[in-house]
C-alpha cells in the first residue's frame, strides 16, 4: 500500500487535531513544571546528601530484585499461559491482571492482611519462627514484585504467543523434550519480549509508592525508597522534592529510550 495522498484525504479535521494538541500539552506541562521549578544550582549538593544516596541505592536494588523475581516466577507463568491448555486459563489470566488495576494502597493492605504479623500466612509464620515480614527490605521487594510482575508476565506472554507453537511441534518431532525446546528454541525467540517485560517491571517498581508505604513502612535505608523520600521531602522542602523528582524523571526517560527500539521501532 502506498502512502495515502494528503490531497485525496483532505486536511486533518480540527476536531481531532485540537484535542490532540491539548493532550500533548497536558502531558508536557507537568514535566516542564518539574524541570523549571527544580533547584538546579542545589542539585549537586542535594544528590550527594546521604539519605538521597541511600534511597536511590535502595530503589535501584529493589527494582532489580523485583524484576529478577518477576523473571524467575513470571516467565514460567507466562509460558504456562501461552502454551498449556489449562482449564480456567481465562480466569488465571484475569488474576494476573488484577494487580495492574488494583490501587497500590489496596495491594499494600492486602499484603498486610496476608503477610502481616497477624495475617493469613504471616501469623502462623510469626508464631512458628518469630519472623515478621513488614518493615523490612524484603517486604519492599515483595510489594514491588506483586505490583510489577504482571507487567512482565503480560509482555512475555505476548511474545510467547507471537512466536508460534509450530516451532515447538517441529522440535518435538525431532525428539526434543519440552524443557529442551523451551530452553533452546522458544527462549531465544522471545528474548526481546522478555527484555521489554523486565524493563517495564523494573520501571514500575522504581515508581512504586502506595503498596510500599502501606505494607513495608518508611525507614531510611531499609524501606524508604525514592518515591517515599520525595513524598516526605515535599513536607519539608518542596524544592528539594522537585529536584529528587527530576532524578526519577531522568531514570524513567532512560528506560523509555531503552524501550524505544522495541516499541517505537516496531511502529515505524
Amino acid at each position: 500500500m502506498t502512502r495515502p495522498d494528503r490531497a485525496a484525504l483532505g486536511r486533518p479535521p480540527a476536531l481531532l487535531v485540537v484535542p490532540a494538541a491539548l493532550a500533548v500539552l497536558f502531558l508536557l506541562v507537568p514535566l516542564a513544571g518539574l524541570v523549571a521549578e527544580s533547584p538546579w544550582r542545589r542539585l549537586p549538593d542535594l544528590l550527594t546528601r546521604p539519605e538521597v544516596g541511600e534511597a536511590l541505592v535502595l530503589s535501584l536494588g529493589v527494582a532489580a530484585a523485583a524484576a529478577g523475581l518477576s523473571l524467575v516466577l513470571g516467565l514460567p507463568l507466562a509460558w504456562v499461559l501461552a502454551r498449556v491448555d489449562l482449564p480456567g486459563r481465562g480466569a488465571l489470566r484475569a488474576l494476573v491482571t488484577i494487580p495492574l488495576v488494583l490501587p497500590p494502597v489496596v495491594a499494600g493492605v492486602a499484603l498486610l492482611a496476608a503477610l502481616g504479623r497477624n495475617g493469613l500466612v504471616g501469623g502462623p509464620l510469626h508464631a512458628a519462627t518469630g519472623v515478621t515480614i513488614p518493615f523490612t527490605t524484603a517486604a519492599v521487594v515483595i510489594a514491588h514484585t506483586f505490583i510489577a510482575m504482571p507487567f512482565f508476565v503480560i509482555s512475555a506472554e505476548g511474545a510467547l504467543r507471537a512466536s508460534g507453537r509450530e516451532y515447538d511441534v517441529v522440535a518435538a518431532t525431532l525428539g526434543a523434550t519440552r524443557w529442551r525446546t523451551f530452553r533452546t528454541v522458544t527462549l531465544p525467540m522471545v528474548l526481546p519480549g522478555i527484555a521489554a517485560g523486565l524493563l517495564l517491571a523494573w520501571a514500575r517498581s522504581l515508581g512504586e509508592f502506595g503498596a510500599t508505604i502501606t505494607f513495608a513502612g518508611n525507614y531510611p535505608g531499609v524501606t524508604r525508597t525514592m518515591p517515599l523520600l520525595v513524598y516526605g521531602e515535599l513536607q519539608r522542602d518542596p524544592r528539594a522534592a522537585y529536584g529528587l523528582s527530576l532524578v526519577l524523571l531522568v531514570l524513567s526517560v532512560a528506560v523509555l529510550a531503552l524501550l524505544r527500539e522495541r516499541w517505537l521501532g516496531a511502529l515505524r
Partner: protein, 243 residues
C-alpha cells in the same frame, strides 16, 4: 450534553460542585489527624446549629495540610498540631492570626493485651515500635522524647501521621508506638497507655486559623468560635485533649 461535559472538565481542573447549586454551603476544614474524633463530633453539632452548611473534614499530617493551604487547596479552616506547621501556612500567606485551642501530650501505647510486656519507654530498646515521620508534629515530639530517654534502638518505620501509628498498634503489627494521649483515649479498651518521662515539657499546642482564601468566612469564623467556646472545650476534654 454541555453541562455534564463541562462538569467533567471542571472536575479534572478543580473540584466541581463544591458548595453545590442547591443552596448548601460547604465548610472545608483541614485538621491534624489527631483531631479526628473531636472534629467529627463538633462537625455534627455545627451542622445542627447551621442548617445549610455542610462540614467537610480533611484529615492528615499537619505538615501536609499546611502545605496544601499554601498551594491553594480548597479550605476554609486549618487546624494544626503545632506552631511550626501553622507557621509554614502563615509564611506562605495561607493564614493569619491563628489561635490556640488545645494541647496534647505524647504517650507510649501497646495493645491492651501487651504481649511484649512493655512497662516503660526503656523497653523500646528491645522492641519493635513505630513513630511519626519527623516532618509531622507528632514526629518532632517523638524524636525529642526518644532522645531525652536515651533510646538508641530506632523505630521500625516513620508513619505519615499519628493515626497511621495508632492503626499499626491496633492491628498488632508492632508492639508499641508513640501517639497522643487523645489517640489512646479514643480506644480505652484496646490500647494500654503508658506515661513517657519528659512528655509534659513537650506538650504540643493545637492552633486553628481561618484561611486567607476562604471565600465565605462566616461559617469559618463560627467554626473557630465553636472550637474555642464552652462546647468545643468540653468535647476536646472528653476526647483526651487538655486546654
Amino acid at each position: 450534553m454541555r453541562r455534564p461535559v463541562g462538569c467533567v472538565v471542571l472536575l479534572l481542573l478543580a473540584s466541581c460542585g463544591s458548595g453545590g447549586s442547591d443552596g448548601q454551603r460547604t465548610l472545608d476544614v483541614l485538621a491534624a489527624a489527631s483531631l479526628t474524633g473531636a472534629f467529627e463530633r463538633l462537625a455534627a453539632d455545627f451542622e445542627d446549629d447551621h442548617p445549610g452548611v455542610d462540614v467537610r473534614i480533611s484529615l492528615g499530617s499537619s505538615a501536609t495540610l499546611a502545605r496544601q493551604v499554601v498551594e491553594g487547596a480548597p479550605a476554609d479552616v486549618l487546624a494544626t498540631a503545632d506552631e511550626r506547621t501553622m507557621q509554614v501556612a502563615a509564611d506562605g500567606g495561607g493564614v493569619t492570626d491563628p489561635v490556640q485551642f488545645a494541647t496534647n501530650e505524647m504517650v507510649l501505647v501497646t495493645t491492651a493485651a501487651n504481649p511484649a510486656g512493655i512497662r516503660s519507654i526503656e523497653d523500646l530498646e528491645d522492641t519493635g515500635y513505630v513513630v511519626c515521620v519527623e516532618t509531622a508534629p507528632c514526629g518532632v515530639v517523638a524524636a525529642a522524647l526518644l532522645e531525652r530517654n536515651e533510646i538508641s534502638n530506632p523505630p521500625l518505620s516513620y508513619q505519615s501521621d499519628v493515626k497511621a501509628v495508632e492503626q499499626l498498634v491496633l492491628a498488632d503489627e508492632v508492639d508499641a508506638g508513640l501517639v497522643y494521649a487523645s489517640d489512646a483515649a479514643a480506644h480505652p479498651d484496646r490500647l494500654l497507655a503508658l506515661p513517657v518521662p519528659g512528655s509534659a515539657e513537650h506538650r504540643n499546642p493545637y492552633l486553628v486559623a481561618v484561611t486567607e482564601q476562604s471565600d465565605d468566612p462566616g461559617p469559618a469564623d463560627a467554626w473557630v468560635e465553636l472550637l474555642t467556646g464552652d462546647r468545643g472545650r468540653a468535647v476536646l476534654a472528653e476526647e483526651g485533649f487538655e486546654p
